[in-house]
C-alpha cells in the first residue's frame, strides 16, 4: 500500500515506513549496504562522512531506549547532526497536534525524521505532509510496523543462514500486539522464505493472520519442529491483564523457549529476540545465552542496518 509513498519516481527509497510492498531488490540493497557498514564499527575511527551537515531528528512520541540509541549511533557514524526529542513528555502534552509538531521541526531545517509513535500509521501521515527534501524513517508505529528491526533480523538470518530460500522460520509469542512480527513476516515473504510459522495461543494472534501467508501453530512442539530460525517475541507485562493469558508461569510452561523445546528444531537452528528479553517468561536463560543464540549480534547488526537505511533515503534526495 505504501510502496508509492516510500519510493521515488525512479524507484529509490525515499521514506522507510513499512516493509510491506517494497520490492525484494530494495530489501537486498539495504542488506548489502549494511554489510559494507558493519566494518565501520570495527574501525578505530567509527565514522564515515555520508550525512555530514544533515540534521536527523529523532522524534519519539513513545518511550524507547534501545531503538533510539541505535538510531543515534547510526546517524552519528554517518556524521549527521542528531537531535533527540522525547515528545512523549513535551509538545503533544501541551495540546499541539502531530502535524503541527512536525511542521515546526521542519522549519528548523530537518533533513530526516526518525519517528516512533504509539498509533499505527503515524509515520505514513507525517510522510504525506513533509516537504519533499525530508525523509521519514519509521522506528516503530503502534502494532503496525518496525521496519528497521525487521531488516536487522533479515540481516542476521542472511548472515548465519546465507539466504532465505530453504528456510523454515518460527515466530513465537505475542504476534497480535507486535509490530516487529508484522515487519518480519512481510520481509520474510518478500525475500522468498518458503515457510513462515506463527506460534502462540489464539488470544495472541490476529483473527485473520493466515491472510498474511503464515502457518498457524498453537503448540510449541509442532511449531518449532525442524525450524532453522526461531524468533521469540517479547511478552509485555500488561498482557497478563485483559484475559489474554492467565499467568506468566503458564505462558512460560507452554510457549517459553527451553533447551528441551529447542532440541526439536534443526541442530543448527538460530534463536533470535528483538529485545528487551523477559528471561523466564518467553525464553530460558540457558537458551538466551546459549550457542544457538544470536541475540547480541542482532543488536550490532542493527546499527549497520540503520546506517544503510539512513544513507539510502538521504541519497534519494541528492
Amino acid at each position: 500500500m505504501s510502496a508509492n509513498l516510500q519510493l521515488t519516481e525512479d524507484g529509490r527509497l525515499r521514506h522507510l515506513l513499512t516493509l510491506e510492498g517494497l520490492p525484494a531488490r530494495i530489501l537486498t540493497q539495504i542488506l548489502d549496504t549494511a554489510e559494507s557498514f558493519v566494518s565501520v564499527g570495527e574501525r578505530e575511527i567509527k565514522k564515515v562522512p555520508l550525512l555530514r551537515g544533515k540534521a536527523v531528528f529523532n522524534l519519539f512520541f513513545e518511550n524507547s531506549t534501545r531503538t533510539r540509541t541505535t538510531f543515534e549511533i547510526a546517524a552519528k557514524r554517518l556524521s549527521a547532526d542528531v537531535i533527540n526529542l522525547n515528545i512523549a513528555t513535551s509538545a503533544t502534552n501541551k495540546g499541539e497536534t502531530l502535524l503541527d509538531t512536525v511542521a515546526n521541526l521542519s522549519a528548523m531545517q530537518a533533513d530526516m525524521f526518525v519517528v516512533r509513535h504509539a498509533s499505527s500509521g503515524a509515520p505514513h501521515l507525517i510522510a504525506r505532509h513533509v516537504a519533499p527534501h525530508i525523509s521519514v524513517v519509521n522506528a516503530g508505529d503502534g502494532r503496525c510496523a518496525h521496519p528497521t528491526q525487521g531488516l536487522l533480523d533479515m540481516y542476521t538470518i542472511r548472515h548465519y543462514k546465507g539466504g532465505f530460500h530453504n528456510l523454515r522460520v518460527a515466530i513465537v509469542g505475542d504476534v497480535l500486539h507486535s509490530r516487529v512480527a508484522r515487519s518480519q513476516i512481510h520481509a520474510l515473504s518478500i525475500l522468498g522464505c518458503p515457510e513462515i510459522r506463527v506460534v502462540a495461543p489464539k488470544t495472541l494472534l490476529p483473527r485473520d493472520v493466515e491472510s498474511m501467508g503464515v502457518h498457524v501453530h498453537h503448540k510449541m512442539e509442532t511449531g518449532v519442529k525442524d525450524c532453522d530460525v526461531i524468533i521469540m517475541l517479547r511478552l509485555q507485562n500488561e498482557r497478563m491483564q485483559g484475559a489474554l493469558l492467565p499467568s506468566a508461569g503458564e505462558y512460560y510452561k507452554f510457549w517459553g523457549l527451553t533447551e528441551d523445546k529447542l532440541k526439536l528444531a534443526r541442530p543448527d537452528a538460530i534463536v533470535m529476540h528483538p529485545g528487551p528479553m523477559n528471561r523466564g517468561v518467553e525464553i530460558d536463560s540457558g537458551v538466551a545465552d546459549g550457542k544457538h543464540s544470536v541475540i547480541l549480534p542482532q543488536v550490532t547488526f542493527g546499527i549497520a542496518v540503520r546506517m544503510a537505511v539512513m544513507s539510502m533515503v538521504t541519497g534519494s534526495n541528492a
Binding site: 500500500m1 497536534t97 502531530l98 502535524l99 498509533s119 499505527s120 500509521g121 501521515l125 508505529d141
Partner: protein
C-alpha cells in the same frame, strides 16, 4: 406560494408512478398532478424537462452538530447541505454536546431548525441521561418537545437491565427505540473490522460478534417486551441473517444501513485513510455483499447517510486517533442510485429506500408524491456527473471517502414544504 413543476419525469415509489406529469403546489401541499386545478395561477414555474421529480429524500441519521459541536459544522451549513442533497426530512441523533436529553434542548433545536431554511428536522431523543446508559430520560416530556424516537446514538448501554427497562417504558407510550447494536466490551477501543486489514496493520479491531451479541440481546428483549425497535447501521453478514430471521418471526423491528457501507469495505481503510474511519467499521467484502443483498430483499429497509461532518484537524491524525464518520447528505442520492444501478433496479425501486421506506419508519407523512401530500420534492438529473471535492461539497465536513471520485446524479431543485428551498447555481 403556488408553484408549477412542468415536464418532469415524476417517480413515486409508493404508487409505482413513473411518467411525465406536471405537478401543482399550493400552501405547502401537492394539489394536483397532470391537469391544473381550476383557478390555479402559479407564482413560479419550474421547467423540469430532463429531470426526475422524486419525493424529497428522508434521511434517518444526520448530525447537525448543534448544540455544542459547532467547530465541526453548524446547523445552518448542514441544513443547507442536506437541501443540496435533495433531503427534505431528516432525523438527527442525540449525540450532541450536551446530548438531547432535556426538553429545553430539543425545543431550542426545533426552534433553530424552524427558523433556518432547509429540511424538516425530527430530533431523536436521548434514551438515557447524558447517554450514559444508566438513567432513563423523561421520554414523555421529550416526546412532547418534539422527539419522534429515542436512541443512544453510538453510546452503549452496558447494563442490560437498563435496556430492558427502557424497552418496557418506551412500549408503555408506543415510542420506538432506535438502537445500533454494538457490545461495549467486544468493541472496546477498536477502530476497524477484525479482519485482514487489522491483522496486517495492527489497528485495534472490532469483531463481528460485537454486533451479533448485542443484536441477539436486543432481539430477545424485543420478543419479551414487544417494544418497537429500529436497528441502526447494520454492518455484518451474520447480523443481517439474524434480522432476516427476526422479521420472519414477526418481531416489530426495522433496519437501516449507512450508505458508505453499501459500497466500501475494510480494504478501503488499508492506506490509513481516516475518511474511511466509520462507525460501525467497514467490514469484509462478504459482509458488504450481504448488506447489499439484504437491502435488495427488504431485510434492510432503508439507506441513510449517517452524516457526520468532521473538521479537518480531527481527521488529519493517525487513523486510530482520528474522529470517526463521513459527511454524507450530498452523497446519499448518488450513492443510492449507484447501488440501484449496479443491482439492476429501476429508479423507483432505488428511490424507495431513501423516500417512502424511511418516511414510514420515521412515522411522517412524506416520501410520497400525490394530491394532498406535503410538497417535499427532489428534482435531479440522474445522469449528471460530478466530482466529489472539498469545493463541490456544501457541507462544512469535507471528510468523504469518495473525495476525488466522480459520481452520477445531481440535485437541481429541492422543494420543501411548498417552497423552492434550493436551486443549483
Amino acid at each position: 406560494m403556488k408553484i408549477k413543476i412542468s415536464n418532469g419525469r415524476v417517480i413515486d415509489p409508493a404508487s409505482g408512478l413513473d411518467a411525465v406529469r406536471d405537478i401543482y403546489i399550493a400552501a405547502g401541499r401537492i394539489v394536483a398532478l397532470g391537469a391544473a386545478p381550476a383557478d390555479f395561477h402559479a407564482n413560479a414555474e419550474v421547467d423540469a424537462s430532463g429531470l426526475v421529480v422524486a419525493p424529497g429524500l428522508v434521511d434517518l441519521s444526520v448530525r447537525l452538530r448543534e448544540p455544542g459541536l459547532e467547530y465541526m459544522a453548524t446547523l445552518e451549513s448542514e441544513m443547507h447541505a442536506a437541501a443540496v442533497g435533495g433531503i427534505t426530512s431528516l432525523a438527527c441523533p442525540p449525540d450532541t454536546d450536551p446530548p438531547l436529553d432535556e426538553p429545553g434542548l430539543v425545543e431550542m433545536l426545533k426552534f433553530r431548525a424552524k427558523n433556518s431554511p432547509g429540511p424538516r428536522v425530527y430530533p431523536i431523543g436521548a434514551l438515557t441521561w447524558k447517554l450514559k446508559g444508566e438513567r432513563l430520560t423523561e421520554m414523555a416530556e421529550l416526546s412532547e418537545a418534539g422527539c419522534v424516537a429515542f436512541s443512544q446514538a453510538d453510546d452503549p448501554i452496558v447494563d442490560t437491565m437498563v435496556l430492558l427497562r427502557a424497552m418496557e417504558y418506551a412500549y408503555t407510550f408506543g415510542y420506538p427505540l432506535w438502537l445500533r447494536p454494538q457490545d461495549f466490551h467486544l468493541a472496546r477501543s477498536g477502530v476497524v473490522h477484525d479482519g485482514v486489514v487489522s491483522a496486517r496493520y495492527g489497528l485495534p479491531a472490532i469483531p463481528v460478534p460485537a454486533e451479533t451479541v448485542a443484536l441477539q440481546t436486543i432481539l430477545l428483549l424485543v420478543r419479551e417486551t414487544k417494544a418497537r425497535v429500529h436497528l441502526c447501521r447494520l454492518s455484518s453478514r451474520a447480523g443481517v441473517e439474524m434480522v432476516r430471521k427476526a422479521k420472519a418471526d414477526g418481531l416489530p423491528v426495522t433496519c437501516d444501513v449507512g450508505v458508505h457501507h453499501v459500497h466500501l469495505s475494510e480494504l478501503d481503510t488499508a492506506d490509513f485513510n481516516a475518511n474511511c474511519h466509520l462507525v460501525p467499521p467497514l467490514r469484509s467484502q462478504r459482509d458488504r455483499d450481504a448488506l447489499r443483498a439484504a437491502l435488495l430483499d427488504g431485510t434492510i429497509d432503508c439507506i441513510c447517510s449517517d452524516h457526520a461532518p468532521v473538521d479537518a484537524d480531527a481527521k488529519e491524525k493517525p487513523f486510530q486517533e482520528s474522529e470517526a464518520g463521513a459527511t454524507g447528505v450530498e452523497l446519499l442520492l448518488p450513492l443510492t442510485l449507484k447501488w440501484g444501478a449496479e443491482a439492476g433496479l429501476s429508479l423507483a425501486e432505488s428511490l424507495d429506500r431513501v423516500t417512502r421506506k424511511p418516511a414510514d419508519i420515521l412515522g411522517v407523512d412524506g416520501g410520497r408524491i400525490g394530491a394532498g401530500k406535503p410538497a417535499d420534492l427532489c428534482l435531479f438529473d440522474p445522469d449528471a456527473p460530478w466530482t466529489v471535492s472539498t469545493k463541490s461539497l456544501a457541507s462544512l465536513g469535507k471528510n468523504s471517502p469518495f473525495l476525488g471520485m466522480e459520481l452520477q446524479g445531481r440535485v437541481r431543485y429541492t422543494v420543501i414544504d411548498g417552497h423552492l428551498d434550493y436551486r443549483a447555481g
